[in-house]
Structure formats: structure tokens, C-alpha cells
């Protein structure tokens, strides 16, 4: 059954999928840094959604939807309109290409991100392991 994107249930499913993905665990074994995935309003979505993921050495230690942006101060932030996130999760757009074309924006230690491109790719792959619904 499809899970509504950016819901608490979806974030938990993503966490579980990340922790069950050996390719991610291997590629991200040196990754240290938590992040916000910020879903920007578009179409029927009227408010920003902040998804928090605490990623540490190949493990997702925590994940939740955050209602107050200032609740966390993550090392990395990725933001895009919901339509772009949808294209990425439907594999219509490559996540790295989305970053290179400015469709998906990011902020954080770029040198660190550049060192672990496969981890980024596998992070997205983890989120493809279950069906996602976009109701907007």
C-alpha cells in the first residue's frame, strides 16, 4: 500500500528502508551529518514540510516530520518543490542532476557531499523501496 509522501509514516518507512539497504550502509559508512529534506508548497500542497533525518555512519538514527523548523539545526538542508521530489522518487529525474540544475537546492559542507556521491544515490534508492503516494 502506498504511503503518503512526507507524512510521519513515510519518514518512518524511509528510515527503515535506509537501515535495511546494505549498499547505503557501505557507501555512507563515513557519513556524519543530519539533514532536513524540505518540501516546498506547490499545487495542492500549501505549507512547507520539514523532514528530519539523522544519518550517521551508514545508519539512520532518527527520522521525523518537524513542524517547527527551528526545532533542529541540521548540518545539511535540501529543498525543492514537491513536484521535483516526486520526479526524483519516480526516477524521472536523477537526484544529482536535479542538484546540478538547481531544481533541488542544498546547503551544507559541499566538500563532504562531493566525497560521498554514491551515498547520496543510495539514500534515494532506499526511498524507492516502498510505494509513495503524492496526493497534492
Amino acid at each position: 500500500m502506498a504511503i503518503k509522501y512526507a507524512s510521519e509514516e513515510w519518514v518512518k518507512a524511509a528510515r527503515e528502508a535506509i537501515n535495511k539497504n546494505p549498499a547505503y550502509q557501505e557507501a555512507a559508512k563515513k557519513w556524519e551529518g543530519d539533514m532536513y529534506f524540505i518540501v516546498e508548497p506547490e499545487g495542492g500542497l500549501k505549507e512547507k514540510i520539514f523532514m528530519y533525518f539523522d544519518l550517521w555512519h551508514g545508519e539512520c538514527r532518527a527520522a521525523s516530520v518537524v513542524t517547527d523548523e527551528s526545532a533542529k539545526t541540521p548540518a545539511y538542508r535540501f529543498w525543492a518543490p514537491v513536484g521535483v521530489w516526486r520526479q526524483i522518487l519516480e526516477k524521472k529525474v536523477d537526484a544529482v542532476q536535479a542538484m546540478m540544475t538547481g531544481k533541488l537546492s542544498l546547503k551544507g559542507d559541499m566538500a563532504q557531499i562531493m566525497k560521498m556521491p554514491k551515498a547520496a544515490s543510495e539514500l534515494v534508492n532506499s526511498m524507492l523501496k516502498f510505494e509513495t503516494e503524492f496526493p497534492w
Binding site: P22, M100, M110, P117
Partner: protein, 387 residues
């Protein structure tokens, strides 16, 4: 949505005279001492003088340049404030010059922070011209900057679209003095760019034609240029092939041969072209079925016979090995002279470095760490990949 990024390409004999048409007051030439000794710097100065420009020369770029060298060069540019930066040399010089140019334009951004996700902004202080003196890296047409990360025994990939040179000046006269070994290594580097760009996961309609043409040209003209360095037709075609491959791959990316080749070069200082080219056939075997149709398309372009029911990947891999052998290049890591004990001590580091390379993301079949180590061991022994 995607981009096709390209500089103005001026090519053919006498392309160097384009420099005499530039408008500006001061040019800084970024180069190495060998280019000075060969008289190439004087040739460039002569043309820039015709344009009425004053000239300063920074000739301190070493092979596999470091971040420190780029910082020194950027400081040099900030001191002289040129309106043209002219890079004259091989891939090392051109990549270093791209970094220096970025450091001149944006002193607030460290070269190691240059990345394809953060726009640098347009060049406002000086335009960048790249003049290749080897026929391989295609760096005159690309935004990528490969630098040695001192202390980490690895090469890092940096750069963003705005690091693309404004003008690529592809004059084969600058390639005439390359010795046969360098001709072979750089020509095979161009071939690797072309094959990887054509088969990467980011391949696209705009790059494909350029890359197939480059593959044809390298197969046809590399043996000639290797045998007779004064064969101007072969030199010109190879020089063009390198630029075509550069234009193609920078817009579609390379793949596993570059990820593993950078790792090998970072640890053992194997020349870049030699490293990527010797690993290329192994990567074709490894990627195998994930790109079978494309291997077949390349084989068709090269008029290689693929018997019915047979796979194109091993046939193409063999053709590349035959070409490499014909220009006396090693076919295994062992043949490069790296002792077995040094290799064995480093194989974990090689796999680790390869896994951090950006080019692994665009490989149609990406290996995990265990597979990467095994891959290096096979490539060391010269064993065809069977896993």
C-alpha cells in the same frame, strides 16, 4: 532538464592566431617549465603581443597539481589582475588554470569547495583560454578540475559549470612534439572519455554523436600518430578527437574506469591516461549486460565483427586491448611496474578511493566495495572480469 555546456572552440592549424584577435590589456599565461623550454610559451606570447597585451607568466604547475599550487596561481592572478588567463599545457595545467581563474574571480571560495551544485557566478575579471598541448584530457572543453589532495593520497574532482573555459584553442601544432609514450597515454585517455561518456547513465543525445566520432578517430589515428609524431593529419584528428570527447563526456560524465583510474593514480601516481585506459576494458567486462546494446553500437561504429549470439562487450574490450598493445601500453596494473606487495597493501585504499569518486554514480553497473577490491585484483593480474 539538462545542459550542454561548451566553450567557443577554435581548431585547426594556426588556431593560435585567434590570440592576436583578443581585446585586453594584460594576459597571464599559466603553464609549466617544459612548455617554456619547448618554445611554446614564446609562440603564445608572440600572438598575445600582436593583440597589444602585456604578458605575465606563471610556469609553476607540476604534473598532478596540488590545491596549494592552484592557490599560489590564484594569488599570482590577483597580484597582476589580468583580463585574460591563458592556460598552455596538458590536463594538469588546464585544470590548475581553471582553479586559479576561479580563485581570482572569487577569492572567497576555496578551490576544494568548487562543486557542481553551487553556482560560482560568471567570470567578470578575466576570461579563460585553454590551449592543449596533449591530445587526450579534453580539459580545454570541460569544467572539471582534477587536483591532488595532498596528505590523502587521492585525487579530488572539483569544479562547476562556470569553470568551463571561454575559448578552447585546439591547434595541432602544439601536439607535434609529444613523445610516442605520451601520445599513446593521452590518446587512450580520449578514447576512455568517449566510451565512458557514451555509456554512462547520463548519456544524452547531444553528447552521443561527438563521442562516437571521437571513438572512431582515436582507433583510426592513434596508431599513426604514435608511429610518426610528425604525421600532421593524424595529429590534427587526434587533437580534435580529444576535444570532441571532452565536450561529450563533460555533459554526460565518465564512469567506472575514471573512478578506479583516479584511485590508481592517486595512490601510485600512474599517469592518468595510462591508468584509465588500462582499466577501461575491465570495466566494460564488469558493466557487461547493463550496457550491451551500447557496446554493440560502438562495435558497429568500429566495424568490429560481433558473431550472432555473442556479446559485444568482450569483443570491444579485446579491440581496446589490441589498440593499447599496438601503442605499447600496459594491459594490467602489474605491467605498469607496481610491485605485488605494494599493490596488496594498497588495494583497500584503492577501493575506498574509487568509492568516493563522483564518476561511480554515473556507472551503469556500480560495484560495491568488495567487488571493487576484486576488480582491482583482477586488473592487477590481467584477468578478464567474470563476476
Amino acid at each position: 532538464m539538462w545542459y550542454f555546456i561548451s566553450p567557443e572552440v577554435v581548431y585547426g592549424l594556426d588556431a593560435v592566431t585567434r590570440l592576436a584577435q583578443l581585446e585586453g590589456k594584460l594576459a597571464c599565461i599559466i603553464t609549466d617549465t617544459n612548455m617554456v623550454k619547448l618554445g611554446f610559451v614564446d609562440k603564445v606570447k608572440e600572438q598575445l603581443s600582436k593583440a597589444g597585451m602585456k604578458i605575465n607568466v606563471f610556469d609553476g604547475v607540476e604534473p598532478d597539481p596540488s590545491i596549494e599550487t592552484v592557490n599560489k596561481g590564484a594569488a599570482f592572478l590577483r597580484q597582476y589582475k589580468p583580463d585574460w588567463v591563458v592556460a598552455l599545457g596538458g590536463g594538469s595545467v588546464m585544470d590548475a588554470a581553471k582553479g586559479m581563474s576561479a580563485g581570482y574571480e572569487r577569492p572567497d571560495v576555496k578551490v576544494e569547495e568548487l562543486n557542481p551544485f553551487t553556482p560560482l557566478g560568471p567570470r567578470t575579471k578575466a576570461k579563460l583560454i585553454c590551449i592543449p598541448t596533449t591530445s587526450g584530457t579534453g580539459a580545454e572543453a570541460t569544467w572539471g578540475i582534477i587536483l591532488t589532495v595532498t596528505g590523502e593520497d587521492r585525487k579530488g574532482s572539483f569544479g562547476c559549470r562556470e569553470c568551463t573555459p571561454d575559448i578552447a584553442l585546439v591547434d595541432p601544432a602544439f601536439a607535434l612534439l609529444m613523445p610516442p609514450e605520451l601520445t599513446a597515454q593521452t590518446g587512450l585517455d580520449a578514447l576512455t572519455h568517449a566510451i565512458e561518456g557514451f555509456t554512462s547513465t547520463w548519456k544524452n543525445d547531444f553528447s552521443d554523436g561527438l563521442l562516437l566520432k571521437a571513438i572512431q578517430l582515436v582507433f583510426q589515428y592513434l596508431p599513426r600518430a604514435y608511429r610518426d609524431g610528425q604525421d600532421m593529419e593524424a595529429r590534427e584528428k587526434l587533437h580534435n578527437a580529444a576535444c570532441l570527447a571532452g565536450l561529450g563526456f563533460i555533459n554526460s560524465m565518465c564512469a567506472m574506469a575514471h573512478a578506479t583510474g583516479h584511485a590508481l593514480g592517486g595512490v601510485f601516481h600512474t599517469p592518468h591516461g595510462r591508468a584509465v585506459a588500462l582499466l577501461l576494458p575491465y570495466t566494460i567486462e564488469f558493466i557487461g549486460d547493463a550496457r550491451e546494446e551500447l557496446w554493440a553500437e560502438i562495435a558497429y561504429t568500429l566495424k568490429l565483427e560481433v558473431p550472432k549470439g555473442k556479446k559485444a562487450a568482450p569483443i570491444l574490450a579485446k579491440a581496446i586491448r589490441d589498440l593499447a598493445r599496438s601503442v605499447k601500453e600496459p594491459l594490467s596494473i602489474k605491467e605498469t611496474g607496481i610491485p605485488a606487495d605494494s599493490f596488496n597493501k594498497s588495494v583497500e585504499k584503492l577501493a575506498d578511493n574509487a568509492s568516493m569518486d563522483f564518476q561511480l554514480v554515473t556507472t551503469a553497473r556500480a560495484p560495491n566495495i568488495e567487488e571493487t577490491e576484486k576488480f582491482f585484483r583482477y586488473a592487477y593480474d590481467g584477468k578478464s572480469i567474470d563476476f
